[in-house]
Symmetry: C2
Subunit: 322 residues, 2 copies
């Protein structure tokens, strides 16, 4: 086992194997997890986290890949986290769809990781933020978080990001789909990809209407832009990057970035705390306390709520050691 600080140092030098090892350590709830997280903490906060969501077929992977190219031209280090909420298999293995990423596979300034969250204790809320912290501490300037496959996880992915990009494509009935999935509330930037196809203007118009972009807003309010792209040919991608930079600048100016990151950190702490408490209660199964309470319930001397009160009071005795 390599020691954590040397792994972190190597990760910051851009060594992909060190990054991979760190993500595995935080993802798998290893014994080193706490040490890794504590070591990473002062190194985080530099990365700009962009979430990409959208229905299958809108060109998420192609758009992500095109964004990587654009950011690399600026000399930025880029991390890509492809989250698959339907799969239990994590790791470096590129998914079928990831083939479009292959042009970046040999670029040392790009780190690509696929992450499965099915079966994870706490799911996406648990696994993704930790991997984002590793990529952040490793020196990524931009982290693109993309959902692979379908899922109700769009909103969850968006909640992990500084800026959320919602992708649509013409003629997929996306307007209605978007409304259904609630993604109209989460997009900071909207992209109509495959804009060389029929119906792109109609999709943009419909989206504009649904977002109420025609209505007047406060002078300081963010007005989500709608950018048309043909990601496969790189068209419009610079405009997406510009829109992202504008949103970032707007957030920094108004204190929204710190607010969002604070909310994200709060949710993260909450998930960890609930998971830890759940595990601690589970540990009590091997303990006299829980079984003594259970016996009193079976005997009719106590009800389960009274017992839960006693259990929680008992839990807190050893709270220094989670």
């Amino acid at each position: 086992m390599q020691d954590v600080s040397s792994l972190v140092a190597q990760a910051r030098e851009g060594r992909p194997r060190a990054v991979a090892r760190l993500i595995s350590l935080v993802e798998g709830a290893s014994p080193q997890l706490r040490e890794v997280m504590a070591t990473l903490a002062p190194l985080t906060g530099g990365a700009y986290v962009v979430g990409l969501t959208g229905s299958p077929g809108v060109g998420k992977s192609t758009s992500t890949s095109a964004l990587v190219t654009a950011y690399r031209k600026q000399g930025k280090r880029v991390g890509v986290l492809a989250v698959d909420p339907s799969s239990p298999f994590s790791g470096g293995a590129l998914l079928g769809d990831r083939v479009r990423m292959s042009e970046h596979a040999s670029d040392p300034g790009v780190y690509i990781r696929s992450m499965a969250t099915r079966g994870h204790l706490g799911g996406l809320a648990w696994a993704a933020p930790q991997a984002i912290r590793v990529l952040d501490a490793a020196g990524c300037d931009v982290i693109l978080v993309e959902t692979v496959g379908v899922g109700q996880s769009e909103v969850e992915i968006a909640s992990q990001a500084d800026t959320s990009v919602v992708l649509l494509a013409p003629g997929m009935g996306d307007g209605i789909q978007a409304a259904k999935a609630g993604i109209l509330e989460i997009g900071d930037v909207y992209v109509v990809n495959k804009a060389d196809r029929d119906g792109a203007d109609a999709t943009a118009r419909e989206l504009n209407h649904m977002l109420g972009l025609g209505e007047s807003r406060g002078p300081g309010d963010w007005r989500p832009p709608i950018v048309k792209t043909v990601a496969a040919r790189g068209e419009g991608i610079e405009e997406v990057v510009e829109a992202l930079e504008k949103h970032r600048a707007w957030m920094e100016e108004r204190g929204v970035l710190a607010e969002r990151r604070g909310a994200r950190a709060a949710r993260e702490v909450e998930t960890i705390a609930v998971t830890a408490l759940r595990e601690r209660i589970a540990d009590l199964h091997g303990d006299r306390r829980l079984s003594a309470l259970a016996e009193r319930i079976v005997a009719g001397e106590l009800d389960p709520y009274g017992a839960a009160d006693e259990l929680v009071a008992g839990l807190t005795e050893g709270s220094a050691q989670m």
Copy 2:
């Protein structure tokens, strides 16, 4: 609002509306929940809880109805809890499938309740045990808990019961289904229903083989019987009741009944405690504590695990008031 003790008294007299009201109170996490549960505690422990699981089409409702008839002949009061993990709608309304129960609808010695658990905080583990407690305290001698619809919840239902009955039917590929669902580990009594159909003997044989019933067991071990029934005509139902009584007697003799009930109570307490802790953490969102921790994380001064430790330590201060 009627007072709780008079509701409980009426429920014990067998008034269905009082039972219904009590179940609604415990199911909906009402303000009276704790009072109801505390009032019920000394009245519980008399009922024998039988879980019925099996794939759709094996005749669960018909079998449940036939068992009700058999127990009523013995003069016993019977509660039926039909749990539908896929539905968000609870209540007294009889589901389509429940029509087969209609012969018992006017019998004051039978209480039938359908219960939905989708969307429930804590799901089945939370909702069913509380309803079982109400039926138990109301004086039911036997409570039949049946899953409606499909689900991975067979194992969960079984864990709520004193005795688990697994139903199969010939020619449904049930052997393989059974192995997949893990129900081979949970059955105390197996029923091959629709035994007048072709393949009933083959299903029983296959089951016998898969259960390893041919192998020798310890002299005191329980050997799950396989009973063939035609529930629609009441055939074999007396044998099922006999098998249940044998299992109950065996459990009482060996201390297994108290053990199972203790484990059930422990799980129940655990679920309530975790839910309460989760709610208490959620309350902290409106509190300075969590946001102060989140700010320190964003500033890189603290990692989420360290923050979770502090949060849990802070939680325990007010633990008398959940």
